[in-house]
């Protein structure tokens, strides 16, 4: 069996190689909050297990076996987040931390039972896709809210889940995945977004908007 640490490395490599192919030791180390030397050490171990491809100074990528493990852990994480949220009422800014520990520990049986209880869901409380039990991920084509223009309407697809305070802030506007809103005004010179959520106006700063991803963008004349 893999250690918790090895699983977290594989998960991180998966996420980083999604946006940008080969993953450098430094990027991986920064993402995991360890030193590059520690990352090199683990990468070598993962290579002997044939879970990653690696050439020194050339970055690392997952093998098919490594990707399968990564997706398995990501599936655990996101199912757990949704389960904690729906079944136990853990607030959406608390589920990530909890799932980060539980993901390494639950059995396949418990995974399957949560999946069934939740009705085979496809997204976690932050809108991130839950890989199915065969490791198939449904990709959506969402864009950062910062790309929106005056008058456009859209639906929240996903929000970054790692910063708890940011999630509480976003939650205070009711901007959960699935929530529809319309851009009332984008202030000039990189200014904030004024939006209309079910008749309620809210002002969203650019730093926050970077972490909100939307889809189904419609211009007002297309309605």
């Amino acid at each position: 069996m893999l250690t918790h640490a090895a699983e977290d490395y594989l998960k991180s490599i998966y996420k980083l190689q999604e946006k940008g192919g080969k993953v450098s030791t430094g990027i991986l180390a920064e993402f995991l909050d360890v030193k590059p030397a520690s990352a090199t050490g683990m990468i070598k171990k993962l290579k002997t297990m044939k879970l990653v491809r690696y050439e020194r100074y050339r970055g690392v990528t997952l093998t098919a076996a490594g990707k399968a493990v990564a997706l398995e852990i990501i599936r655990h994480h996101r199912l757990l987040e949704l389960y904690l949220f729906k079944a136990l009422g853990v607030p959406w800014d608390g589920v990530h931390e909890e799932a980060e520990k539980l993901e390494h520990v639950i059995s396949e049986d418990v995974e399957a039972r949560m999946d069934e209880y939740l009705g085979y869901p496809t997204a976690d409380p932050h809108g991130a896709p839950i890989p199915d039990k065969n490791g198939v991920v449904i990709q959506t084509d969402s864009v950062p809210m910062t790309e929106l223009k005056d008058g456009q309407s859209c639906v929240v697809a996903e929000v970054s889940d790692s910063d708890s305070a940011l999630l509480r802030h976003i939650g205070s506007f009711n901007l959960y995945p699935g929530t529809a809103f319309r851009v009332v005004e984008v202030a000039p010179f990189e200014g904030p977004f004024t939006i209309d959520i079910a008749g309620q106006e809210a002002v969203i700063g650019r730093e926050v908007a970077k972490h909100i991803f939307v889809e189904q963008v419609q211009d007002p004349d297309n309605v």
Copy 2:
């Protein structure tokens, strides 16, 4: 924070000192399936943390602080067992193994939410008492089924929870905690017990009976 290993040692010392005061290194090591030398090492570490009292060759006992930690972990374990059983339908012979890993990992928040969901229960699926959040344990005075005589009636109070196959076997007779039965016959020469469970007769071997604890024992003439 304590390591998983330290928590398991404290939990084990608690359980062993319940029946017999001071706990010897050998007994503790056997219980945890490690070598005595390993137990000595951990005991020394726990002593520096003031969680146990210990003098070499003289056995070990928990301090108040150590007992509090032990009860906290036991509470996690038993709440988790019951939660997995009731909320996710994990069979009663599977909950122990799962809880053994989860007990070290769940937050106080999740503990409290499970407790609420379950209606502040006082016993796990095997009948073992769940310490309350202040560490108070409700003690019951149950006796091993092997002490029963012909004609006596009783209710199952608790069954040993660590042997999965044994639990499946006991479950096949529906001998869950709370189940009432009457002893039809105790075969002589250390023979098996024939019992009546809601009109259904079952024969229970002595080895199995050792692991079933009963209470509210009544002789037939007292009814």
